[in-house]
Subunit: 280 residues, 2 copies
Amino acid sequence: MTVAIIGIGHIGGSLAITLKENGFADTIIGVDKSQQNLDKAIRRRLIDMDCSLEEAMQRSDLIVIATPVNALMDLVPQILDLTQPHQVVLDVGSTKELLLNIIKHHPRRGRFVPTHPMAGTEHSGPEAAVPNLFDHKYTVIIDPHDSDADALESVRAMYASIPMHMVDLDAKAHDVHTAYVSHISHISSFALALTVLAKEKDEGRIFALASSGFATTVRLAKSSPDMWIPIFEQNRDNVLDVLDEHIQQLARFRSLLIKRDFDAFYQLILESNNIRKILS
Amino acid sequence: MTVAIIGIGHIGGSLAITLKENGFADTIIGVDKSQQNLDKAIRRRLIDMDCSLEEAMQRSDLIVIATPVNALMDLVPQILDLTQPHQVVLDVGSTKELLLNIIKHHPRRGRFVPTHPMAGTEHSGPEAAVPNLFDHKYTVIIDPHDSDADALESVRAMYASIPMHMVDLDAKAHDVHTAYVSHISHISSFALALTVLAKEKDEGRIFALASSGFATTVRLAKSSPDMWIPIFEQNRDNVLDVLDEHIQQLARFRSLLIKRDFDAFYQLILESNNIRKILS
């Protein structure tokens, strides 16, 4: 099978290595608006060849769109215009409601399968492409009933080949849940980094004292704004709702500290320990 | 050398394995108020023998106190009362100002070396003891001029044997900096866990969707309240100050989302990316 990957960054590049390595794809074609990214992808052997979007649409069976989510708004309709009846198109973006509204009435909507593999790191670009990024993680398949049965089957086969687990959600539920379990984590890390940067001028000292606890909670603060701003734009209402809730939770801790009510503080920590059950 | 470790939990137990394995200690004596912890420590071969505090003070050259910080308030003066002129005592607690005020005028103050190895995980107890926990991390040595030169030298030799890097700070600076780079990370994780737990009732769904980003930012929410409440009690003013700053940073993000000012949001993310320079 020939797979075209549109957007050869961290996610697209990692998928390229994985699908070639496991034999799902015979040939991987890379498309990217940055020729520099394509050159890197060729040098790192992430892809077999690069070409224009139009040529890729002629030559491939499965088209994976792995660009930042703002680019999807124009790109998905444009790609669906070029899609032939035997081809399957999927995206791997972090937000879905807006995109799916835009293509709701597209005549080729059935060839498109919206997906969101829940994997990724704070790194970006083809230089951050790694094998095994997706192994045994979850992919969300969004609104599966709006895709043609054979298209859905091809996409499920692709994710199963990695292997990844799959879970189905509607677009609204997907966007709400990712606000909770992914988008708010990033804002929390950005804010934590700014808190420390604002307070600590002596960078050498932060470095010396930064324990592994700090390093993990602030890891996501290294994430690229080019990827994340479009996500926050598109999922703004859900993110705002969760951010409000998060600030209120922090305000509870603040209030208990002010009142020196360490018994209630203890109970809050115990309650938060329940996250153990969820993240084995 | 015979080393006594008072408090055979995650930190004390890990130190026990490490110092025995690298040959710094010939014999490790364990002391713990929980006989169950001592039994586990013997079964897991973390310690060579257990005994009472009094007996341990008779038999050891170096005494490491690795209890939660509330226990230090009574334990350190009590141990210094029993300390002989050739013995060296150190603690590994996360807060220092209060403790050092309490023992400021103790006649054996010079035998005591306050330290804080910046390592640890969200786990606790002797079952969480692991080798290599401290390798190449930083230990803070607090107020080194208040310790006898030979005591200081023994403690530096102990940390160098692991090996760990060392940095000197006064007690006030230590407590302020750990509020920034360790204590606030924990409150942020506790609050994030509560945010998600409050919003998501369907635990299976969180599990499925929880990306690695969420898992790392919320990892510290598994931490034990028995360890952390005493730290927050003792470092309350510094933690409150940093928590206020953190809530204000989150409020900036909230305000920009409300105003849909994604250009300024982009700049804030770029600014927070500077944390990269600090955490390689």
